[in-house]
């Protein structure tokens, strides 16, 4: 197994996440795209750890940190989405123009 095959797969997943982030209009789907990008980062971390084989498994520890922060982000993100939906009756980012110049 080459290292670069994992890196290219992660790059493709990250690119899908970028595309979804820019194209999607629903806030929940934008959060899903962010999860895809974080997942690509995790693949990179684990692949590099598998090559370097650090004695303290640093890559694994950082992947766990990324997963934890992603979980926290989803919790807060969905609470904000809920709040916006309650106030604006919509989960569409095109309707949120309060902070546009």
């Amino acid at each position: 197994m080459l290292l670069s095959q994992f890196l290219v797969l992660a790059a493709a997943l990250f690119a899908f996440g970028v595309y979804g982030l820019l194209v999607r209009r629903n806030i929940v789907l934008i959060l899903l795209s962010v999860e895809l990008m974080l997942n690509a980062v995790n693949i990179n971390l684990i692949a590099f750890e598998s090559v370097l084989a650090t004695p303290e498994a640093i890559g694994h520890v950082f992947a766990i940190f990324v997963i934890t922060v992603a979980a926290a982000e989803v919790g807060i993100g969905l609470a904000i989405v809920l709040m916006i939906f309650r106030n604006r009756k919509s989960a569409n980012v095109d309707d949120l123009n309060l902070m546009r110049w």
Binding site: M1, L2, L3, S4, F6, L7, V8, L9, A11, A12, L13, F14, A15, F16, V18, Y19, L22, R25, N26, V28, L29, L31, L32, S33, E35, L36, N39, N42, I43, I46, E49, S50, V51, E56, A57, G59, H60, V61, A63, I64, F65, I67, T68, V69, A70, A71, A72, E73, V74, G75, I76, L78, A79, I80, V81, L82, M83, F85, R86, A91
Partner: protein, 183 residues
């Protein structure tokens, strides 16, 4: 390493299958016109990633991914979809009409990143599939060298918990407030 060498290793077939699953699911997450399907395709992408982690001898992280993402985060997402009463059938309005520029940008990101990785690590081999990294090492590392980041992350989780409750709580109107304090 030639292409023939690459194909003749069975472990690469497994990688190819898993990679195809991950890429297809990831593609459908960002293109599906049904919001529930998008969330469920993310399960496919995450499960494929967990299997890749198992291939890379990261057993603990793979099961953490399954538990936290597939077990908790996806459920949270489905709750979010249900609560915001998003149209659960086919919906053309989920994606913006301007897709060319984002697609160009995303392909640019992909080409740049993969070119950089192939240029830097072209023939670097990953350790073959074998013994999983013992969880003991990860635990020692978390509570040894990385104990401060660990505490910081736990604080982040606590803040997210409190913040989530505070944000999602429905504020009472003054009349309801009075009614409640009277009881």
């Amino acid at each position: 390493m030639t292409f023939i060498d690459w194909v003749s290793a069975p472990v690469n077939w497994v990688f190819a299958i898993l990679g195809a699953v991950v890429l297809f699911s990831g593609f459908r997450v960002v293109t599906s016109r049904n919001i529930i399907h998008a969330a469920l395709y993310l399960v496919g992408a995450l499960a494929g990633t967990a299997a890749l982690f198992l291939m890379l001898s990261a057993e603990f992280v793979a099961w953490v991914l399954v538990l936290v993402y597939i077990g908790a985060v996806i459920v949270l997402f489905l709750f979010g979809i249900m609560i915001t009463r998003a149209p659960t059938g086919l919906d053309e309005g989920l994606s913006s009409d301007q897709r060319v520029l984002p697609a160009l940008l995303a392909s640019g990101v992909f080409v740049m990143m993969s070119w950089a990785s192939i240029d830097a690590f072209g023939t670097q081999l990953v350790g073959s599939v074998g013994e999983p990294v013992p969880t003991e090492i990860i635990g020692d590392s978390l509570f040894g060298r990385f104990v401060i980041p660990f505490e910081v992350v736990s604080f982040v989780l606590l803040a997210a918990l409190i913040g989530g409750i505070t944000l999602a709580r429905r504020d009472l109107s003054p009349a309801e407030e009075e009614e409640r304090s009277a009881v």
